[in-house]
């Protein structure tokens, strides 16, 4: 009956090829729309606002680019951050994100669709995630088949590992970098399969776009040479690979050096040396294969001996000279900590303190990927069973990104696309091999009376069970992804929401923006604000005031100076504040409402970083603990802690308020204790502003007294 109904639809009159094209287009369109829609939770719940910390810097630079044009942007020296050092913004950012937004903005305005730049920034990441879905389809189609490509596009549309860094409002480099990365990989695979210079050039241009958008391009420039090296080792090196790699390496390196932030690193730093080494190796292997086809055996032996000895001697001399003269820089801290995870913990406290840089636990894998962690080995198995030039690439990508995602939780983002691709290969192979076993119910095809294989009598039932099971798994995947996106990854961080009050209704905490707008309207234009580096970008973008340290964290000594000021007593801190010309101090305090990411919880990092430079050697972390080694803010807390500047600024006049009817005055709702030092006055600072829920507290630094007492 269903068959007769379907025969009335126009679709059933089409040829098989037209049907499959229609189906492909429909599935890709739905996947693209879905990936856009699932990222809109926070826009619907709150408003179209930029989230977190880093996106505010990108938003400010995009606004500057839109207002002032590219030349001023390229030469921009910002004197409102890192006072008194300033920051060369033009030379220390990856401009791809800002340029993409500006191009879109100008395009829309030229069509008289006047969307505000803030909305372009907020919705850019979901737009690029739709494009990522389509590019993943093309990549998987090149690697395996169209069916696997469609599964991959659908999986990556909603995978939480990618959504976490590309929700609407998260205006960060990763939003477009994943698209650029997958585009580069697609064009690389196309080039390697066809050996054409045109595709390789397109790959180099895509690589240039990738370099302009994210510092993680180092992963690409090491993965592609690793692929070529694996092909050489397994004996699959041929002229197509040679042509593709030489084109991509030469054009890609030259183009990548056009970005000011990258500069001459591709020919100087150790992270790029592997690509150069493989380039040389390609030439040698290619030449050897060419010579072997032309020369006789003795001549070939003589030539090889000469070339090998000459190369060894020359490369040893050159390597020693470069190493001794210091021209080749060693691996930088951020990337070195990927190879040796304990390096950051022991040597660079700033890198170790960021929560995204922690290693990954099993639950992060399951939370961000669910079904994909089961199908990843299946896809790998099928790739190993059918080794081809392109499968080796995806195997290498999968294995390296699993390791990197295990080292740093933030790199789960790089793992998510390859998990989708390999899982789609596994799912596609399993489904096709079992659907072949299903008996057709179409009455026109003749039923084979005899089964070819009498030992497999339940073939049909098993196939139906497998298909039903996979359908169930995919359905639960969708429910999981939607739940995770809605609960975990859609919070703007700058606006908090909670269920509270007498009727359990939703309360909104908009304290951050309240404080920044107060600062914008009530402080002098050239006021300098001291706060911990987390809030730097938000202060410059929203309050438009000069700050001492921000999230770029490029100058550890300067941050350490601020840490020393926060950890010292008021008079010692006053000397530091006079030295740095500070007018206002901003602290975040969560004890009134129970906001746990406040400055008291981050305080130990301020102590560690403050004590890590030579002017801070008088600061010892153990002074801030009780004799039994605990960090406490009540009466038993260490006196150094109870008298330091951060403690006083957070708990000023807090001893006079009730936070809970059953608890004494001055009860801190985050640490769950009554604070130890309640009645004190501030000597050198005065309170300027405290927001409605005491989340942000701003203090004005008093000028030095005239009489010098």
């Amino acid at each position: 009956m269903a068959a007769s109904f379907l025969s009335y639809l126009p679709a059933s009159q089409m040829s098989h090829e037209k049907k499959s094209t229609l189906l492909t287009l429909m599935i890709l369109t739905i996947a693209a729309i879905l990936s856009f829609l699932i990222r809109l939770f926070s826009v619907l719940r709150f408003e179209s606002v930029i989230h977190e910390f880093d996106p505010y810097f990108n938003y400010r630079t995009t606004r500057f680019l839109v207002d002032n044009g590219y030349y001023d942007f390229h030469n921009w020296f910002d004197d409102r951050a890192w006072y008194p050092l300033g920051r060369i913004i033009g030379g220390t950012i990856y401009p791809g994100l800002m340029i993409t937004s500006t191009i879109l903005y100008n395009l829309l305005h030229s069509l008289n669709i006047t969307i505000d730049i803030r909305n372009v920034c907020v919705f850019l990441a979901p737009l690029f995630s739709s494009l990522t879905s389509i590019v993943t389809y093309h990549l998987t189609k090149e690697l395996w088949s169209t069916g696997a490509g469609l599964v991959a596009a659908s999986l990556i549309a909603i995978v939480p590992g990618y959504i976490s860094r590309s929700v609407a409002g998260s205006y960060d480099n990763e939003g477009i970098a994943i698209f650029c990365m997958l585009l580069t990989y697609t064009l690389w695979i196309k080039a390697v399969k066809r050996g054409s210079v045109a595709w390789a050039t397109a790959c180099a241009v895509a690589y240039f776009y990738m370099v302009s958008s994210w510092g993680g391009y180092v992963f690409l420039i090491n993965l592609i040479p690793m692929h070529v090296f694996a092909l050489i080792v397994t004996g699959r090196f041929n002229v197509k690979v040679y042509v593709s790699y030489c084109t991509v390496y030469c054009l890609g390196t030259v183009m990548s050096m056009q970005i000011p932030f990258v500069g001459f690193q591709p020919i100087q730093s150790s992270e790029h040396m592997a690509a150069f080494g493989v380039f040389g190796l390609c030439q040698i292997v290619g030449f050897y294969q060419y010579a072997a086809s032309k020369l006789s055996k003795e001549e070939l032996n003589l030539l090889s001996r000469f070339v090998i000895s000459a190369t060894v001697v020359v490369s040893l001399v050159v390597a020693m000279a470069l190493q001794l003269s210091g021209k080749i820089a060693p691996w930088t801290g951020r990337f070195y900590s990927l190879l040796d995870p304990s390096y950051a913990k022991n040597n660079i406290p700033i890198i170790a303190s960021v929560s995204e840089h922690q290693p990954t636990a099993w639950s992060s894998f399951y939370f961000d990927l669910q079904l994909l962690v089961f199908m990843f080995p299946v896809g790998l198995y099928h790739c190993f069973a059918n080794l081809t030039t392109e499968n080796i690439f995806i195997i290498l990508y999968g294995v390296t990104s699993i390791y990197f995602a295990g080292v740093m939780v933030r790199l789960m983002l790089v793992l998510a696309p390859v998990m989708c691709i390999l899982a789609s290969i596994g799912l596609n192979k399993t489904m096709t091999s079992f659907m072949k076993n299903l008996e057709s119910t179409n009455k026109e095809t003749p039923q084979p009376k005899k089964r070819a294989d009498n030992s497999y009598s339940v073939k049909n039932e098993v196939a139906m069970a497998v298909v039903a099971m996979i359908t169930l798994f995919l359905t639960t995947y969708v429910f999981h992804c939607t739940w995770v996106t809605s609960e975990a990854y859609s919070s703007p961080s700058i606006v908090l929401a909670a269920r509270g009050g007498s009727d359990g209704s939703r309360m909104i905490f908009d304290d951050f923006r309240e404080a920044y707008y107060w600062m914008r309207q009530n402080t002098e234009e050239d006021a300098k604000i001291m706060s911990w580096w987390d809030y730097g970008y938000q202060i410059t973008a929203m309050a438009n005031r000069t700050i001492l340290v921000d999230n770029n964290t490029w100058n550890n000594t300067h941050i350490s100076r601020v840490g020393q000021a926060m950890s010292s007593t008021e008079d010692k801190a006053y000397e530091i504040m006079q030295e740095l010309d500070v007018d206002y101090v901003l602290v975040i305090f969560g004890g009134m409402v129970g906001y746990s990411s406040d400055d008291i919880n981050k305080f130990l990092w301020m102590v560690r970083i403050g004590g890590s430079t030579d002017r801070g050697t008088h600061i010892h972390e153990k002074d801030y603990y009780t004799p039994s080694g605990e960090f406490r803010v009540d009466r038993e807390g260490s006196p150094t802690l109870l008298n330091c500047l951060m403690y006083k600024l957070c708990y000023y006049k807090f001893g006079n308020v009730y936070t809970d009817a059953n608890k004494p005055m001055g009860y801190d709702r985050v640490r769950n204790v009554e604070i130890g030092n309640k009645d004190f006055e501030l000597d050198v600072l005065e309170e300027a502003y405290t927001t409605q829920h005491w989340l942000v507290r701003i203090y004005k630094v008093k000028p030095m007294s005239n009489r010098g007492i």
Partner: protein
């Protein structure tokens, strides 16, 4: 041209070395490399790097109302935190689920004895279903509000 390449060898004498590639050194088969990759996948998804850096205890402990120490299997309320045993258990399930699908793929070979095929099917289905549903259970034990909002 050959006379140019042989110039260094008029001075240098090539030593008579009898170097042979050791016979036991063969290109590993793809399935051998796959087995190595599976072992590393098991270790990495168990959070072994987290264990080495953060050094959590093997299992946690709470005290109940009588003062007895009760063991706690899962570090609750934190997505990116674990005890060592829970990491190993979870990654065992992930690898088991993947291997279940591989076993299921092997059942489609023609001309297999009926007993072998039935056993492979049973093992394959049990591995897949067990690992999938127990992982959901583990996640629910770790995050008490999982899938409930």
């Amino acid at each position: 041209m050959e006379s140019f390449y042989s110039i260094p060898f008029t001075i240098l004498e090539v030593p008579r070395l009898r170097l042979k590639k050791p016979s036991w050194f063969r290109m590993p088969s793809p399935m051998f490399v796959f087995a190595l990759v599976m072992v590393s996948y098991f270790l990495v998804t168990a959070g072994i790097i987290y264990d080495v850096i953060i050094e959590p205890p093997s299992i946690g402990q709470t005290t109940d109302e009588f003062g007895h120490a009760k063991p706690v299997a899962f570090l609750p309320y934190r997505v990116n935190g674990q005890y060592i045993m829970e990491g190993l258990a979870a990654s065992f399930l992930f690898s088991l689920g993947g291997m279940g699908f591989v076993i299921l793929d092997k059942t489609n070979q023609p001309f297999m004895p009926r007993l072998n095929r039935m056993m492979l099917l049973v093992i394959g289905f049990i591995s897949i279903l067990l690992s999938f549903f127990v992982s959901r259970l583990f996640m629910g034990m770790k995050l008490p509000g999982y899938l409930r909002g």
